[in-house]
């Protein structure tokens, strides 16, 4: 069984996203540790990409800062090696297809397995193109996590049936970023997902406060938060980890 299941064994899961190398690798390491200490159940580690087309301005900014600070795929792998000495919760990568492709998919996913990455989320790799990386994911036991969107409709069953790890349900149209309100009828989508898979479902995009997280977790198995955490890094830089710890605690408390 996938290690990712463990993230969903402590009640509703709180999943935190952090862009690696923003403002530097050392801060990322501290931020991840603080998030874990304060109850995060799974960490999504973003490998920065020059042109993140699925991201809103906040995470775009983080990608740019991380790249300007000299972050590379190899440095991110080193970071995970370091983190794995202290962190045992599931870790997944979030990055774009070209980052994996240019590294050589076999080598990239083999290294994921070697350093202790449990899965990967590639927003520009839909169901139709998953053959690109899936054979290597199966070979090395790294889960290729599927996204389902409010527009997926007739595609939900097809995607859910072949999904691995957990289902990443995108809450709203558009790119990542905080939203005051989430209007999609997510309950109906979760229902169709449940009919087609036993995998846990976590909801992301637009979630920033404990009330939203609670609301999302009520209809699913967990909440994913990215921009709100990245915003703390943008604001506090190297001082951000303690703020992130506090924030994660408030979010996880709302989910308990």
């Amino acid at each position: 069984m996938s290690n990712i299941r463990k993230a969903f064994e402590n009640g509703k899961a709180f999943i935190a996203f952090i862009t690696c190398g923003d403002p530097d690798i050392e801060t990322t390491k501290e931020a991840v540790k603080k998030a874990v200490e304060n109850g995060a159940d799974l960490i999504e580690l973003g490998i920065p990409f020059s042109d993140p087309t699925a991201e809103g301005p906040v995470i775009q900014g983080a990608n740019l800062r991380a790249l300007n600070a000299g972050t590379t795929t190899d440095k991110v792998f080193d970071l995970v090696r370091e983190l794995r000495k202290e962190v045992s919760i599931p870790l997944v990568f979030m990055t774009y297809a070209n980052v994996v492709y240019s590294y050589d998919p076999d080598k990239f996913i083999r290294t994921c397995e070697e350093v202790g990455i449990d899965g990967m989320i590639i927003p520009d790799l839909p169901f139709e193109e998953k053959e690109e990386f899936e054979p290597y994911c199966k070979k090395y036991g790294v889960d290729l996590i599927s996204l389902i969107a409010p527009t997926s409709e007739n595609r939900i069953a097809m995607i859910a049936k072949e999904a691995e790890g957990f289902i990443y349900l995108v809450s709203s149209l558009g790119v990542t970023g905080m939203r005051s309100e989430i209007k999609t009828d997510l309950g109906a989508i979760v229902k169709v997902i449940r009919e087609n898979t036993d995998l846990p479902v976590a909801i992301g995009f637009g979630i920033s406060n404990p009330e939203q997280a609670r609301k999302m977790a009520d209809i699913s198995d967990g909440a994913i938060v990215g921009s709100a955490i990245v915003k703390l890094l943008e604001k506090h830089g190297k001082e951000a980890p303690s703020y992130i710890g506090e924030y994660v605690k408030s979010m996880k408390d709302a989910l308990r």
Binding site: T53, A54, N98, V100, S102, Y103, E128, E129, V170, L173
Partner: protein
């Protein structure tokens, strides 16, 4: 001419390479192409593909489009024998395909009229587009005005400065122009921003992509609408010379005018196809946009193709004097034409393009777009090496009025637009 928009593709070999046996099986050109986009957009591109497959064989649709091409855009565009240029260069006989004479001043209108009509049939009321030099933005704003649709154009902030006149034209036509400040603030960032916008608003909005790039079905749709260029060339050159040309040249950014120029010659193996890429300050510098010369295989903006990038797959900040060719990738069909050796891609520097811009103005009284001047520049090198009985066709993809201020600046002269 009874039917300008051809729906029947010429016979061609099945593409080689690995294909996924899925809904996008037709979206591959060899190993290139595909649909590498967020799940949120998948149903939108599937809906677009279905609509296109329906309307491309629809008689009424084709009739309406042909009328728009002929009566509104001024097609067919002329194939002009450039006698002075031919004599001056002393080699191959040179013909210019005058896409610069189309309404709005470039080949971009061919694709836009097709897509806007398709969008209208699909019930969309709003067009969004990216633009580099501003020609595609102007064409989209024009079609939106014509069809009574809302229009939003994304343009790199850097390009809004280089092409201020086109920004004004788009606004005059009723479009909103959004300057894009992310990344390098040029064409690739405008594409990214238009994709983000489409992700957030799909129901009433069609993304009118301007080149033969992006996810399937865009490279096919845009190519089919631009293929009118080579269809006309073929008829016109047969009428004038009684035979096919030996060389066909066009400039390549994403590659829409080039694929339009090549398409109906792909099966005519004796016709040499040459795409002219923007080398900027040279392919041995970092300030270049020559994708085939300097790029490597990658996945970006919805497609697998060649991209200028670093060893970790970060997309390179490319450069060219031409805002329209200033793009780090190339359309997947071109990537495949390169792989199979069917077409040749050559780099042309800023300097060579500016010289060609001035040369065509002085020799033929035609001011080409700086993009098109890249193709002229290669012709200036190639034609003198060829026998006089050879025939060369060069597509002048657009007119150069928009570039005069920038070329003047390049020559050290500051003029007010």
């Amino acid at each position: 001419m009874s039917e300008i928009f051809t729906t029947k593709p010429p016979r061609r070999a099945q593409p080689k390479g690995k294909e996924t046996p899925m809904s996008n099986a037709n979206g591959r050109f060899g190993i290139h192409g595909g649909q590498y986009i967020p799940e949120t957009l998948m149903n939108a591109v599937i809906e677009l593909e279905e609509a296109y497959n329906h309307y491309k064989n629809d008689e009424a649709f084709n009739k309406e489009l042909t009328e728009l091409f002929n009566d509104y855009a001024g097609r067919p565009s002329r194939l002009y024998y450039a006698e002075r240029m031919t004599k001056d260069l002393g080699g191959a006989k040179i013909f210019l395909k005058r896409e610069d004479l189309n309404h709005t001043g470039a080949h971009k209108i061919n694709n836009v009229l097709g897509q806007a009509l398709l969008a209208k049939k699909m019930g969309k009321t709003r067009l969004i587009a990216e633009t580099g030099a501003g020609q595609h933005g102007v064409a989209t704003a024009t079609a939106a005005a014509l069809f009574g649709m809302e229009c939003v154009v994304f343009m790199g902030e850097e390009d809004t400065k280089r092409q201020a006149l086109n920004v004004y034209r788009m606004k005059l036509l009723g479009a909103d122009v959004i300057p894009v400040t992310s990344g390098t603030a040029t064409l690739k960032d405008a594409v990214s921003e238009a994709m983000r916008e489409w992700t957030s608003r799909i129901a009433d909005t069609h993304y009118c992509l301007g080149s033969v790039m992006g996810p399937h079905p865009f490279p096919t749709i845009v190519r089919d609408f631009q293929a009118v260029i080579s269809k006309e060339i073929k008829e016109q050159i047969k009428e004038k010379e009684g035979r096919l040309p030996d060389y066909v040249l066009a400039c390549v950014g994403g590659g829409s005018n080039a694929i339009g120029t090549f398409y109906h010659f792909i099966e005519d193996k004796e016709v040499k196809l040459i795409g002219c890429e923007a080398a900027g300050r040279g392919v041995d510098t970092f300030e270049t946009a020559a994708t085939i010369a300097t790029g490597k295989l990658g996945i970006f903006h919805g497609m697998k193709s060649y991209f200028c990038q670093d060893k970790y797959g970060q997309i390179a900040p490319v450069y060219s004097i031409s805002a329209g060719l200033d793009y780090p990738g190339i359309g997947p069909e071109h990537a495949n034409l390169h792989d199979t050796g069917r077409a040749q891609y050559v780099p042309v520097t800023d300097d060579e393009a500016v010289n060609a811009f001035e040369y065509l103005a002085k020799t033929e009284g035609i001011i080409p777009a700086i993009e098109s001047a890249h193709a002229i520049a290669h012709a200036i090198k190639l034609a003198p090496t060829l026998d006089k009985d050879k025939i060369m066709v060069i597509t002048v993809s657009g007119r150069g009025d928009k570039d005069c201020a920038a070329i003047a600046r390049y020559r050290g002269e500051d003029i007010h637009e």
